[in-house]
Symmetry: C2
DNA sequence: ATTTGTAGCTATCGAATGATTACAAGTGTG
DNA sequence: CACACTTGTAATCATTCGATAGCTACAAAT
């Protein structure tokens, strides 16, 4: 009376197994994308699990709580941002540093959800835990620009302001309107003089995934 | 066997009744504050109802859905923003117009949740309904600055960028760190050269309300 | 071959939330 | 006063979601 359950067909022959450490990174990366798109409350652990190709309970068990997962996503995003800026600064400070860091910032858009999950954290100041982490993260970037990059307060302000505008336009998916609205076109071109094609490509990629 | 319920003490002797039109405005204003603090998904209709001093089912019945309520909040916020800018433009275009509109923008922080609910809408581009409304609203402001205020694309970009930075700092409640963190102090001062005291006062008011 | 730990899933629970229904209390009008 | 309409609430319903429990399967070491 062997089982009728078709389990002995050697399922998932493609993927043998994975070390939990690797799976962890995979889930965090997927979570960055989902949190970036739908926000902390809007994103569900089930969406994240599906995006990572695992079951929802597995996400819960690996990270304990959704909040903890978000904090790890935030840390990953911040770490990547700081690393990118630091690398650019290491290439030498000079009059063109702001432009170079700006380009490095825009290139981070390639990492799905990185800047957007950051932005989502930045408007959660009312949350006691995430708000605190978000403030600390923002200030970490501010200090990096002031101290290591050598920007003065007004340069730093201008740089961060532009970053927040870029985040907002991407979060709004303004690129969706690019082809149909001439105002959106100019608006995007003004905010991203060089990296326009990158954002448009990103928008196309984004649209290729439904909720 | 008359009821033990102390209902016959003529409750709410202070407020007789209110016309639903007035109640409507009241709820929308309260919703702007709650949505601004917790975002679309994070805010509950019950929180909003309590903030407005009515029952949760009343909110549902008056607006149909939470989504519809958010759209009305968005429209109200946008309307106030556009009105404020238009009024400033009507006072005459000139070399100081950008500064005057900037001050008008910062003054909108006095209207609880106005700019924050806008910001919340701006990072909901993935939502089919709210995202579309958010994009339209953002572009409406962009066009106002370009056409009516007479800004060129780069001036408009710089202005909006600074606005997004202000929204972010307020959304992060950076003012919470003002007294304890000298970096936060400089950061806020750089972003809001004149209106610093306004933001600090706002932060104090915000902290006076718990979740 | 057996043991032992790790990776991962199915099933399910309890709390929260948005919406609906049914009813009560006020308000105006003949 | 009666009657209809409006304002508002309490009770409750149906879902959704995050978390937990408990199991299965695989792999490495013994």
């Amino acid at each position: 009376m062997s089982s009728v359950i078709p389990h002995d067909v050697k399922h998932h022959e493609t993927q043998p197994r994975m070390k939990s450490e690797d799976r962890r990174e995979l889930i965090i990366a997927a979570a960055a994308g989902v949190f970036g798109d739908y926000g902390y409350f809007g994103a569900t652990t089930d969406q994240i699990a599906k995006a990572a190709g695992v079951s929802q309970p597995y996400v819960s068990r690996m990270f304990g709580t959704k909040e903890q997962l978000f904090l790890e996503v935030l840390e990953r995003s911040l770490g990547a941002l700081v690393a990118a800026f630091t690398a650019e600064i290491a290439r030498g400070t000079g009059p063109d540093l702001m432009q170079r860091i700006g380009r490095a910032y825009a290139d981070l858009l390639n990492d799905r959800g990185l800047l957007l999950s950051l932005m989502q954290a930045f408007i959660m100041g009312s949350d006691p835990v995430i708000g605190k982490a978000g403030r600390a993260g923002f200030l970490r970037v501010y200090e990096l620009l002031r101290n290591d990059a050598g920007f003065d307060p007004d340069e730093t302000r201008a740089f961060l302001a532009n970053g927040m505008l870029i985040n907002t336009l991407v979060g709004l998916r303004m690129s969706d309107e690019y082809e149909t609205n001439i105002v959106a076109e100019e608006c995007l071109a003004a905010a991203l003089p060089e990296k326009l094609d990158l954002v448009l490509e990103l928008g196309r990629r984004q649209r290729a995934e439904a909720r």
